[in-house]
Symmetry: C2
């Protein structure tokens, strides 16, 4: 908060008003609680007077909330986009050694405070002459919290370990892999002549932020009790809701009309409920059918490998294509992640196609062709030419499109990784259920929750 | 952070290590980035040296993250429970006037920094002699962000307004209502002789925290674009995933084997997919069936009213009951909220039943009988006698039970409101997918993501 950021200060003012509203404190009681001079709270919650750290600390002391509950995030984008040029990435270069030998060269690419992306360009400095996961030249990491999508360029060997199994997968340009947190992995080069690097696009998704802070307080035992495993299937969700509702199998039988014996079989997971039964169970528990369906997964050993050769490829739009997409690695357990290799066919802004989504977007210019990035922000159109190795972050719901810089040159190639932040379907549905004016107050609370005049 | 809190400091140390890992900074590069003396980063991330505000500000300046990303929450419970006695609630009493007249007396009840509950005891000071929503004595509020579960005691009139419709619902003891954010509402007393109060148990659920901070940056227009309305149904979700994946209807036809004409009908929402089609669509988009099912809702005018007279009632356990439960108001759009009126039948710790859930728990002792609260925390059993008007917060996964204080006295009555925090099913499944040791590092990152020795 040392760099002046008026928009941040305005958001902090709105959070202070919202916190006082939540606690049913009007200006007078808030001033008494916080030791403020009478008449000063309105200035703080209107943004006239910045909320400083001392006030924040005092609020976290006298009110049942945490410092972070009063802190907004920073917007470090310019017109909803943050571009990092190849030269800046090069300047962030650092070589990390493992076991005394230089192992990787890391370079940062575009990151923003608005999203949980941590995308790195990584060059393999360790050559190998076999595809053996037990080759002692392979230096494994310990795994890390973030999900990792990896795009391969050149003859790179990928190694992953899951429980006790170690695997080596020789990769080619265009192959990709998506992996779960905390699985140890490594990368080496099969050649010393050819370029061998990866785009290691890690991100936290819904694992970082509030959930992590809550579980850090609840502790390991509670986290283990709360976990739902793939093996648990729908029955684990059913049991979880029965416990939450404190509903017995007998009471569930009364509500659904199904027999207690049959319900016991469903609760134990010995049989899956039919579609009709699932609807009955959801109705009886006051939940939705979706709540009784666990996510699918295609991971094997914690990873999903997508070979370029067998990937889905399609034109977009189908009739007069501006792009040719290749679908890269991902998993149904993380439905809000999309990885695409994009060949830019469009030769002009008139014949390109606009893309927009609720997901955040990260892009990296592959290959050797530059590309024009067009986007719209707050009603205006903007444009930047991106060179190979340039990367960018774009906010959700920003319409964007690509056009070739030189209509005669080969198609440009862009790697696109889209991820959801905290605005998941539950929140999106909650936004859709708010009455008129609700969204505006949710985004920026600007008033006391009642009028002193009484209307 | 002005009050010493060593556990908070340890959590902050783990977050600093996790942030450096995410950014692929080892101790040496982190020290260079943060302007720290060589060799000092290890002390900060082990918790030996507290992470102070200056360091936090510096990290938020040089790294692409926000101050709040490095801040943990506080644990203000004692052995996972926070009790507030009736006397303390009384001491927090404050009368708020509306239009010059005293309208409500507010009293805080048990709140904790660990959960988003903001539960208030509120007495109605405004009597009315009719059930007219347009009675000028009724002073409406402007609505507020938090979800509100309300339990009624005595002859209380409840008023709610949704878009342009105003409704008065005369309530009796034991009736309850669950309401959406930002809908204006009010309460009055139908009598000046009888007690007339409510337990207004508000909470933020997944609307407060990360999602609100993200949307505060993205702004109103993006929030409106991201919203999913009840009218949108499954087709809105299907369209949202098609956009995210940049998949055309033609490509979807190729992947599913369904005709483009039929798919266009499903995408427009003119027909609902069958169960089989939903499975095909999910498979083709790399998502789960649950992702194509919107939540149900039973709200009418933004609220769900549950009359005591028509509520589900059941014994728990069925064979030798320790409790008789009454299910109170709630809605399927918020499946992780459970409201129960609990009659405590158990006469001894031996014949009681233990309850536990992934949800946070709040309780308030109703009626005129005290009750013994038993709970387990970190392997030990604890006990407190609670008097009428006492309230408590309990962490998720804490086993708890109730026993009558006097076996000869009538059953004690406890109001129980359970809510989820940030640990929603997506996170619970992610925990279940982590390899051995992953949960421990997620909860408390204690190491660099690789070993310098290279193994």
């Amino acid at each position: 908060m040392s760099v002046p950021d008026p928009a941040f200060d305005r958001r902090a003012a709105a959070l202070l008003r919202a916190a006082a509203n939540d606690l049913k404190r009007d200006d007078t009681t808030a001033e008494a609680d916080l030791g403020l001079a009478p008449g000063t709270f309105a200035g703080l919650t209107s943004g006239e007077q910045p909320v400083d750290l001392a006030l924040l600390g005092r609020a976290a002391e006298v009110w049942p909330l945490n410092e972070r509950d009063l802190l907004p995030g920073h917007d470090d984008t310019s017109r909803r986009v943050r571009i990092m040029r190849a030269k800046e990435s090069e300047a962030s270069s650092r070589v990390l050694a493992r076991g005394g030998d230089d192992y990787y060269e890391y370079r940062d690419t575009a990151m923003s405070r608005v999203a949980s992306y941590r995308p790195e360009w990584i060059r393999m400095l360790q050559p190998v002459d076999d595809n053996d996961a037990d080759n002692p030249a392979v230096r494994w990491n310990r795994g890390h919290l973030l999900y990792q999508f990896t795009y391969f360029v050149g003859p790179v060997n990928y190694y992953y370990r899951w429980q006790d199994r170690s695997v080596c997968v020789p990769m080619e340009t265009g192959d990709s892999v998506w992996g779960l947190p905390f699985a140890p992995h490594s990368f080496t080069a099969r050649s010393t002549d050819e370029p061998a690097y990866i785009l290691a696009l890690t991100y936290g998704g819904d694992l970082v932020g509030d959930a992590q802070r809550e579980l850090a307080i609840l502790g390991n035992a509670a986290a283990h009790q709360a976990k739902l495993t793939p093996e648990g299937g729908p029955a684990a969700l059913l049991r979880s809701f029965l416990q939450a509702r404190a509903v017995t199998v007998e009471e569930l039988a009364r509500r659904t009309g199904l027999s207690a014996e049959h319900l016991a079989v469903l609760v134990d997971g010995d049989r899956q409920p039919t579609g009709t039964e699932r609807a009955q169970l959801a109705e009886a528990l006051g939940i939705s059918e979706r709540d009784l369906l666990p996510p699918s997964t295609g991971t094997d050993g914690g990873v999903v490998v997508q070979r370029s050769a067998t990937a889905h490829r399609w034109h977009y739009p189908a009739d007069s294509p501006a792009y040719r997409f290749t679908q890269l690695a991902g998993d149904a357990s993380h439905p809000h992640t999309t990885a695409l290799e994009t060949e830019v066919l469009a030769r002009s802004a008139e014949d390109t196609a606009w893309l927009s989504t609720y997901q955040h977007s990260y892009l990296y210019v592959l290959g050797d062709q530059p590309v024009r990035l067009l986007w719209e922000a707050d009603g205006e159109r903007h444009e930047e030419e991106l060179q190979p190795g340039d990367s960018a972050y774009l906010m959700p719901e920003v319409p964007l499109s690509f056009v070739r810089t030189d209509p005669e040159a080969p198609p440009a190639q862009v790697l696109l990784l889209r991820i959801a932040g905290a605005v998941l379907p539950e929140v999106r549905h909650a936004l859709g259920a708010m009455p008129e004016g609700g969204i505006e107050r949710y985004v920026n609370e600007d008033r006391l929750w009642y009028s002193k005049e009484g209307n």
